[in-house]
């Protein structure tokens, strides 16, 4: 009897501890208030800061707008319940200047101060991202430098015309890099985002180019009748996974950038596309219709055996991978026309731990961040579209509205 009582008490304690632990994880995010000390209000900048703090997964940012003095360490009584106060002073006369200070809310002690100045106004969003990223580092939280990176995407303009653009992750900054012609499937060539590959459909044969975004230097990489897409780039940039159709049959090839030798990886007489490196890059995951509908498969580059990764859904036509993590888009409604529901699922290269990470709308173009901690995607709902981000660690998610033309392809 005593033993039973002891066991019951132990189990109860464990349960209580587990509950407390869950609550504590949520509470571990630092409560932060944003104080605008600028001479004039810029609501876009304020909203970008809020988004950055939220999606980082490390902060609980108060959405209330506060005004203050950049020279003052006084903390308003209503803000003393926070852990930190983030002050910013933004001016945009010639270019953009931002001074930021991070203070302890309890006593106004300054923890961090930095100024940022650039000669342009349109890159203002990047200053917000940089400031939040720097503060995150000062507080020694896990790295969130992905918020500083460019997003690369293509969109259709008119029939058989497209443009390729750079954006910040919120899409507040956008710049056309290539316009005119039909240039598609842009893909970053290196982790430093100096160059990207893209497919030009301007002539008789689709051609793959590499272009430096700072010098404009363009290099022809490969040509293929029918179709040519760079689906993935190895970590060191030396190899590419290309979808090519030299005989009118779309297959996946591994292309050696240095000696331009290509090795055919898939040989199915149907559709094999969208190859992505997984694990140690000796294997790939890809989309194929070898069972009569689009689904996700994996294969070693050096062997012929192919195995199925996903066993649900009747149309899983987009996939991305980061090491052993795989994200794919699965159609969950059966309309032949009109909008269908597509949801994103996360699984592993072993096909285990599969779970949905979206539940509504048409969610497509899943893309991992360079550190694999965040997934970017495009959501269509009704007549509107958004670019979305899901932080896999903190489970924070955020959407930014997209206006304008339909996105054709995106990389991050």
């Amino acid at each position: 009897m005593k033993l039973l009582l002891f066991l019951l008490v132990s189990l109860y304690s464990y349960a209580v501890d587990a509950t407390l632990k869950i609550e504590k994880d949520v509470e571990q995010r630092s409560r932060i208030a944003i104080v605008d000390t600028s001479p004039s209000q810029n609501s876009t900048f304020f909203k970008i800061l809020l988004s950055d703090f939220k999606i980082s997964g490390h902060f609980l940012a108060d959405s209330k707008y506060n005004k203050g003095d950049i020279n003052s360490n006084f903390i308003a009584p209503s803000l003393k319940s926070k852990e930190y106060i983030f002050q910013y002073h933004l001016t945009q006369q010639k270019g953009t200047k931002v001074m930021v200070r991070l203070l302890k809310a309890s006593d106004g002690t300054e923890i961090f101060k930095k100024s940022y100045a650039i000669p342009t106004k349109n890159k203002m969003p990047f200053l917000a991202h940089k400031a939040v990223s720097d503060i995150n580092n000062v507080l020694k939280y896990p790295d969130i430098s992905w918020i500083n990176r460019y997003v690369l995407f293509s969109r259709y303009t008119t029939p058989r015309q497209s443009e390729i653009l750079l954006a910040d992750y919120t899409f507040n900054y956008k710049k056309v890099i290539i316009k005119g012609g039909l240039n598609l499937f842009p893909k970053w060539a290196d982790s430093t985002q100096k160059s990207f590959y893209y497919s030009a459909y301007g002539g008789l044969m689709p051609t793959l180019y590499k272009i430096n975004i700072y010098t404009g230097k363009k290099e022809k990489i490969a040509m293929s009748e029918g179709m040519l897409v760079c689906s993935d780039v190895s970590k060191n940039g030396s190899k590419l996974l290309l979808t090519m159709a030299p005989n009118g049959q779309a297959d996946i090839f591994e292309f050696n950038v240095a000696n331009k030798v290509k090795k055919r990886i898939t040989k199915f007489n149907g559709i094999d596309v969208n190859g992505k490196y997984i694990d140690d890059e000796s294997r790939i995951v890809f989309v194929s219709n070898r069972l009569g509908y689009a689904n996700i498969y994996k294969k070693s580059i050096g062997s012929a055996a192919v195995s199925q990764v996903v066993y649900h859904g009747r149309n899983n036509n987009a996939v991305d991978a980061f090491r052993d993590k795989i994200v794919y888009s699965s159609r969950e409604s059966k309309k032949s026309f009109g909008s269908n529901q597509f949801n994103l699922y996360l699984t592993s290269s072993k096909g285990s731990n599969t779970r949905p990470i979206t539940t509504t709308g048409t969610n497509q173009f899943p893309r991992f961040s360079t550190d694999g901690s965040v997934i970017q995607f495009i959501k269509h709902r009704g007549r509107g579209s958004s670019v979305g981000y899901i932080n896999l660690i903190s489970h924070q998610s955020i959407l930014f509205p997209l206006s304008g033309r339909k996105i054709q392809s995106i990389d991050w």
Binding site: I70, N71, N73, H89, G95, K97, M99, G108, S115, Y116, A117, I118, P119, K123, F126, L127, N148, P159, R160, Q161, K175, I177, I178, K179, G180, G181, L182, L184, T192, Q193, K194, A200, Y201, G202, G203, L204, M205, N212, I213, Y214, E225, G226, M227, V229, T243, A245, G248, A250, I271, D272, V273, N274, V287, A294, N317, A318, S329, S336, F337, Q364
Partner: protein, 195 residues
């Protein structure tokens, strides 16, 4: 006595308050350099802007098109006169997600074989899709459609070397209305003589 005590207390309080106030140096926001962000390439360096306006002008005219109110079955009907090909060729239409040539397209394929036999120029066979589906899969589907047409032309005796296939995926719609008829018109293969 009380007055003196009060005065002393007030004086002491004032002195204490002054001592406790933090002496924050005034932050000079005007002194920031014009450009001082040196550790972020995307902020600092200037990116290019390139205009490649060339191909688009060459082929924006897709040939004769008819009204886009046709239903799905109308487009796949052998008697339909919808067409977006050029040079006497006839476009072929496909069911949702399909890339086989249906029997109803037989007459059109015969016309295409006939036109090809009378031309020595290279023939471009362009596969297209409706707007559903994303990324590479849609382009591969368009390519399968184009290949199906090419294979049929080869079977009719057209020289394989005289034909080139390409997929435009969903990039080349002939109509943009959100209707079944419009989607059906976009799921097609066009043929034309290559320039």
């Amino acid at each position: 006595m009380i007055k003196n005590t009060l005065l002393a207390t007030a004086t002491l309080s004032i002195l204490l308050l002054n001592g406790c106030s933090s002496k924050t140096p005034k932050v000079n926001t005007d002194g920031i350099d014009q450009h001082n962000v040196n550790d972020a390439t995307q902020i600092v360096e200037k990116t290019v802007s390139i205009d490649e306006n060339a191909y688009g002008k060459e082929n924006t005219k897709n040939g004769q098109t008819t009204a886009s109110n046709e239903s799905n079955s109308d487009v796949l009907n052998a008697g339909s006169n919808i067409n977006s090909s050029s040079n006497g060729f006839k476009s072929l239409y496909f069911g949702f997600g399909e890339y086989g040539i249906s029997p109803s397209m037989g007459t059109r394929m015969t016309v295409n074989g006939d036109v090809a036999s009378k031309n020595s120029s290279k023939i471009k066979i362009e596969g297209n899709c409706d707007e559903f589906g994303t990324d590479e899969y849609n382009y591969a589907l368009g390519l399968k459609r184009a290949k199906a047409v090419k294979d049929n032309m080869i079977a009719q005796g057209v020289n394989s070397q005289s034909m080139v296939i390409v997929s435009f995926g969903e990039s080349n719609p002939v109509c943009v209305n959100p209707t079944d008829g419009c989607y059906a018109q976009n799921r097609r293969v066009d043929l034309r003589l290559a320039n």
